[in-house]
């Protein structure tokens, strides 16, 4: 016990020392933030560990902005952004980045669509030039849409239709939220992927792809003064435009009726889902308490699910899936696969019992300290990658939160007590509001 506490103390001291001596695990020491006159938000994250820089543009639009009939449109538009502009041919963007040895890609989430290039620092200008060009000059043609629609359908088959777990998560989202907010599948339904027109895409692009709806994040090694000039040169000339909201409400009533599927799985898979309230600055302590509770339950080999369910041969595996920083009502999913001589119902009972035991008996020796030390150390490890730094900042910014939360994280985590964990367990793990879903083998 004493020995362990000593290690935790040393860990915390080392992080504190690193803040002073190396100044490397605090975003505030690295970030400069400002805004162009057209509303484009700029975040510069300095990290000179290697001569690499990552340039990324984040638009505040994703699947939660969509509605039935056009689900998946943000994602299709992401694909179409590689089809050329008035100044570049289809695929030229990627070829130019490849020629300089860079990597590039894009991603669509529930609240954002992002594009990035990672290159040697000498080539930052090329990234800014090409990315700013496709913010305003994208060519959207029927012909390109025809082939890219097929690519997206293949992606849906690969990621969802031939993937039993993704398939059940899509069904759970739709049953709890309908075609609203986080219930909408990011990739879209097959019907909507087939139905989206070039006109729909043009409307989506011209509405959301404007500087005042975007954040430019540069992370890595770069000359700040020069980069600011280049940002002004390429992005400063783009005009601000008003952004409309297109979303339509789906009036579907939430149902907690069990979902039962048969699919290509070797063992049954149990998923217990419940709603989590959105993250706000006011309730952030509750969100972090939930994060610690889940880490304590299933975040590591020494967590309760692993030691009590997997190691005791109740389950082959367990999982908890959640997003701390959700902008809207979101789902938490808890589950696993039972071992051969254990029924799904028994596994469900024992998972819920783990939370009940925690509520009744509280923490075991050092459990909270160990859990916190893991979260704190992992928070330092994230600084190994400029990509990950930009991702953390970008996700928070596009969800309407502030990157300063990242620096506050350790202080917030440290302030969570045993009673906070018991309170969130009592609040969220309520059997009447849990949706049970099971995939059984064919």
């Amino acid at each position: 016990m004493v020995k362990t506490l000593k290690y935790i103390l040393v860990l915390l001291i080392s992080i504190l020392i690193s803040d002073i001596a190396i100044s490397s695990t605090n975003f505030n020491d690295r970030i400069e933030q400002y805004q162009l006159k057209n509303g484009l938000k700029i975040i510069l994250i300095s990290d000179n560990r290697s001569p690499i820089v990552m340039s990324s543009v984040w638009y505040k639009v994703g699947s939660s902005y969509e509605y039935e009939g056009i689900t998946g449109i943000s994602h299709i538009l992401e694909h179409m952004m590689f089809k050329g502009t008035e100044n570049t041919k289809p695929g030229e963007f990627s070829r130019e980045i490849k020629k300089i040895g860079g990597t590039e890609n894009a991603f669509t989430g529930k609240d954002f669509t992002g594009y990035y290039q990672k290159v040697h620092k000498d080539y930052i200008e090329l990234c800014l030039k090409l990315e700013s060009d496709r913010m305003i000059n994208l060519n959207l043609s029927e012909n390109d849409l025809k082939s890219e629609r097929e690519v997206v359908k293949e992606e849906r088959r690969l990621r969802t239709e031939d993937n039993p777990i993704s398939k059940i998560f899509e069904k759970i989202g739709l049953q709890i939220f309908g075609f609203n907010g986080y219930g909408i599948p990011i990739i879209g339904t097959m019907d909507d992927i087939n139905a989206i027109t070039i006109e729909d895409l043009k409307k989506w692009y011209s509405n959301y792809y404007v500087p005042n709806n975007a954040t430019l994040i540069i992370a890595g090694s770069f000359n700040k003064k020069e980069t600011k000039k280049l940002i002004q040169k390429y992005y400063g000339k783009i005009e601000r435009k008003s952004v409309k909201k297109f979303s339509k409400k789906d009036t579907l009533q939430t149902s907690y009726k069990d979902i039962l599927l048969k699919d290509n799985v070797s063992d049954p898979i149990l998923v217990l889902s419940f709603r989590k309230e959105p993250f706000t600055n006011i309730n952030r302590k509750e969100s972090y308490a939930l994060e610690i509770l889940f880490e304590l339950m299933d975040g590591a080999y020494s967590s309760r699910f692993t030691t009590n369910l997997v190691d005791k041969q109740i389950a082959f595996n367990t999982f908890i899936s959640y997003d701390t920083y959700s902008k809207e009502n979101n789902l938490v999913a808890i589950g696993g696969s039972p071992r051969e001589n254990v029924s799904v119902d028994e596994l469900k009972r024992l998972i819920i019992k783990e939370f009940d035991n925690f509520i009744k008996k509280g923490l075991k020796d050092n459990e909270l300290e160990y859990t916190k030390s893991r979260l704190i150390a992992h928070n330092v490890y994230k600084f190994d990658s400029i990509f990950y730094q930009a991702m953390q900042v970008g996700v928070l910014e596009t969800k309407g939160f502030n990157w300063q939360l990242l620096d506050q994280y350790i202080i917030d985590i440290e302030s969570i007590t045993e009673q906070d964990l018991i309170n969130v367990a009592k609040k969220y793990i309520v059997e009447d509001y849990i949706l049970t879903s099971i995939i059984n083998p064919l």
Partner: protein
């Protein structure tokens, strides 16, 4: 004027150094098996212990290497599993087994106490004195379950079947997890004996990246290896590729919307003289994402797949050029035809000089991106150690790429890639 010229030369020199600022690799106490990249801008240390045995060395008991390595962190010491000891200080433990080798790795916050603590725990782990029958039974259950899961996963099915056929009668033909029967029959004595045979000072390579100097690294290694036997240099069995079924096509029925397609073609090892020629050629063919021949034809123009790529899998005894894609089942024949045509184009290699030039520049310039995190540095350091690539690796790589020409590529494709000896496997509802 002289001052101006010398300043220009200096500036040019600085620019060159900065442009290609590769990390400095040190031998720890002059031992070529223990490598260090000191990188102290973050309070992190990454340690990776390479073990020179992989599933190719399983012998008659398939899966034993994977079984034994995945058991180590589960040993119980002072009433808790060793992995729990690492987690207490926020360290991340990992282990994995490939065909040629295995590794265990730990990432930790760099304090002298943590370094000492981790080295002691790793020492206990490597000595493997705490393996029990219960542990063996539980590990069997978990691994047998993973084998069952793999039988329903199209990417595992296709890989396992392709390896079985293509690598027939070699140590590379069975799955890394092994066959069910072999895993079921494993016993505690066999596992202990196997660990005795693969864990010794001769079989371990240690790679360290991060906030630690050479002396501390040497102390860490000394603690970590304390009491570990020296072992002997053993000549591993060399395998040769026996596959000689020209252009064989095999389908494995599987209920799915897409059909997975894999093509295997005999290629070169990492240390082969033709390696860099094939590397540049593959970059153009299917190894570089958007704009590669495969991506352009299959995805960008025909919309037949979300992902299609080729890559060189350089095992220690032979290399394979692998091509992989998935497409809606009704398009399978069409996709295979296109792939075959692209392979013919690749083989003929009527590619412009400028395309080869761009590929070389792209590969050289992207080299920096392979060293921009400690994690990536560790992966590269481990590969350098495993392949016994000399300490002037960076120079070798740059020279290797620079020396590639259209002519040298054509010669290498002609002499080192056995295009006619390919295997095509599909998994789907065909």
């Amino acid at each position: 004027m002289i001052k101006f010229i010398s300043t220009s030369i200096l500036l040019f020199f600085i620019y060159q150094c900065d442009s290609y600022a590769y990390p400095n690799i040190n031998f720890i106490k002059d031992n070529p098996d223990y490598l260090l990249i000191e990188e102290n801008s973050l309070p992190i240390i990454d340690i990776r212990i390479g073990i020179k045995y992989g599933s190719r060395d399983d012998g008659a008991r398939t899966g034993i290497t994977n079984f034994a390595i995945k058991l180590l962190h589960k040993q119980e010491v002072d009433n808790s599993k060793l992995i729990h000891h690492f987690e207490r200080i926020g360290a991340i433990y990992n282990s994995d087994v490939s065909r040629d080798s295995s590794y265990i790795s730990v990432r930790l916050i760099s304090t002298p106490e943590n370094i000492h603590y981790v080295s002691k725990k790793l020492n206990i782990l490597l000595k493997h004195q705490h393996i029990t029958q219960d542990l063996i039974d539980d590990n069997k259950d978990i691994i047998l379950n993973a084998i069952n899961r793999g039988k329903l996963d199209p990417s595992s099915i296709i890989q396992n079947k392709a390896n079985e056929i293509f690598f027939i009668n070699t140590g590379y033909s069975h799955p890394i997890f092994g066959y069910k029967k072999d895993v079921k029959d494993l016993n505690i004595k066999e596992v202990r004996n196997y660990l005795d045979s693969i864990i010794n000072k001769n079989s371990l390579e240690i790679n360290i990246v991060g906030d630690i100097n050479e002396n501390s690294s040497a102390n860490l290694i000394s603690n970590l290896l304390s009491g570990i036997p020296q072992g002997k240099d053993t000549d591993k069995e060399k395998f040769i590729l026996n596959y000689k079924k020209h252009r064989q096509v095999i389908n494995i029925p599987h209920k799915s919307k897409q059909t997975h397609i894999a093509i295997y073609i005999p290629s070169v090892t990492r240390l082969n003289k033709d390696f860099y020629n094939i590397l540049v050629a593959n970059y153009i063919f299917g190894g570089s994402g958007f704009g590669s021949m495969l991506m352009k034809e299959i995805r960008e123009e025909k919309g037949l797949a979300y992902s299609v790529y080729s890559y060189l899998a350089p095992y220690s005894d032979f290399g394979v050029l692998k091509i992989s894609m998935q497409t809606e089942t009704k398009n399978t024949s069409k996709a295979i035809e296109i792939l075959k045509n692209q392979i013919i184009r690749f083989r003929n290699f009527n590619i412009s000089r400028s395309s080869v030039g761009f590929a070389k520049i792209g590969l050289l310039r992207s080299f920096n991106l392979r060293f921009d995190t400690n994690k990536k540095m560790l992966e590269n350091l481990s590969a350098i150690n495993e392949y016994n690539i000399p300490e002037n690796y960076f120079e070798h790589y740059v020279n290797g790429i620079n020396n590639v020409t259209i002519r040298s590529i054509r010669e290498s494709l002609n002499s080192s890639i056995m295009f006619d000896n390919n295997l095509i496997i599909t998994v789907g509802n065909n």
